[in-house]
Amino acid sequence: MIGIARPIAMLAELTHRCPLSCPYCSNPVELTHKAGELPTEVWVDVFAQAAAMGVLQVHLSGGEPASRRDLEELVAAAAGAGLYTNLITSGIGLTRDRLLALEAAGLDHVQLSLQGTDAAMADAIGGYRGGFDRKMEVAGWISDIGFPLTLNFVMHRRNLHQLPRALEMAEEMGARRIEVATVQFHGWAIRNTGTLMPTLEQAREADAMVRDARARLGGRLVIDYVPADYHAEFPKRCMGGWGSSGFNVMPDGTVLPCHAAQTIPHLSFDRVQDRPLAEIWYEGAAFNAYRGTDWMQEPCCSCNRREIDFGGCRCQALALAGDASATDPVCSRSPHRDKVRALADAAAADAGAALVYRTFAPVP
């Protein structure tokens, strides 16, 4: 355990169920059905174990966490364990009464997703008619109750021009922070690369809009920006570094070092039902596979940025370079950088394709 930091944050993917079906959903392509979800008492125990290991914040996510009827009970259990509780939601499935019950249970913060800034865009992207109006109603309740609010705007080729309005909406809703995240290509998004990948010009435009907005809104609205890494010079650091500050627990109890880790076929993962969480964190094979810098290859091992970005995303390295230990190919120093260029070019050629929405496989 020497040298391995304690985890700070846990992402609890309570369910994969969701009324929306966003074509970039970060859930795995093989979604877990309701029958495979952890029961309440296992989550309650996981929260207690996490707190005892040093986890300070739990992000309750999904799918749509409000699809769990026991959400209020889970929030109470997490808060009772001393964890700072954050609800990551599309808003759909929340009522005023449920929000009041969540407040009473000790919910600290709400992160609300925004698929677009009007009903036409938001409902087309979320694949759910009436979703936008419903969300606006929920946003009103969130601010009436006074929950601290962060808006999350996933940005891509189709809705990038709506960024200025998204910033205005954040202010109107009284959000303290907006996360402007350019779509990442994992899971479902890979099926929609053409329709979703912003052009280089769009990416630069977004950079400029964010720069201006930060200057204008400093001290009023915090803007956390995830630029398009495929148009960047260096990759982004994933999860603060693999196995260094946080982990994800999937609806079926599988513990992952990052969202997309299951796309790396040679890794094996533990489940909370089979092994104590602390053992999974410190000794689990998947967590130790890419922890620190020892696993790196050139050009990462001799690079001055190796402890800044930790070589980028392992899943992207596997997907594009065919080797999960390779330098993330979005890095300008990667010998596979041309594959990212080719992907962007192919995406541009395929920009008119129809969206592929996420769906559950039929129940076996």
């Binding site: 707190a51 005892a52 300070l56 913060h109 006074g146 601290p148 962060t150 922070r177 915090v222």
Partner: protein, 93 residues
């Protein structure tokens, strides 16, 4: 910048907590955790939503027997940083 009459307070969703696993004080905020050093903690200890910045720095200067202007500069830098991140509300008198 912080004026002597500004009244700082931690907004809902931002709070200090003793992390008994690590044995340190932390500031918990929406999707963020800050480890607090002794100075940061001492400053936040005086932030109660009613004291103004001038009172806070005078109290700290007396307690630590340090020059008031240096304390004010340190505290303004620390609190200003929190304010920029929306971890601190400031009401001007």
């Amino acid at each position: 910048m912080m004026e002597a009459t500004d009244v700082p307070s931690l907004p809902r969703g931002v709070r200090t907590r003793f992390d008994d696993v690590r044995g340190v004080w932390v500031l918990l905020a929406p999707e963020r955790v800050l480890m607090l050093d002794e100075i940061g903690l001492a400053i936040l200890d005086e932030v109660d939503g009613t004291r103004d910045f001038g009172t806070i720095t005078a109290m700290l200067a007396a307690r630590y027997d340090a020059p008031a202007d240096r304390i004010a500069a340190d505290a303004a830098r620390f609190l200003g940083g929190l304010r920029n991140r929306r971890f601190l509300d400031v009401v001007a008198a």
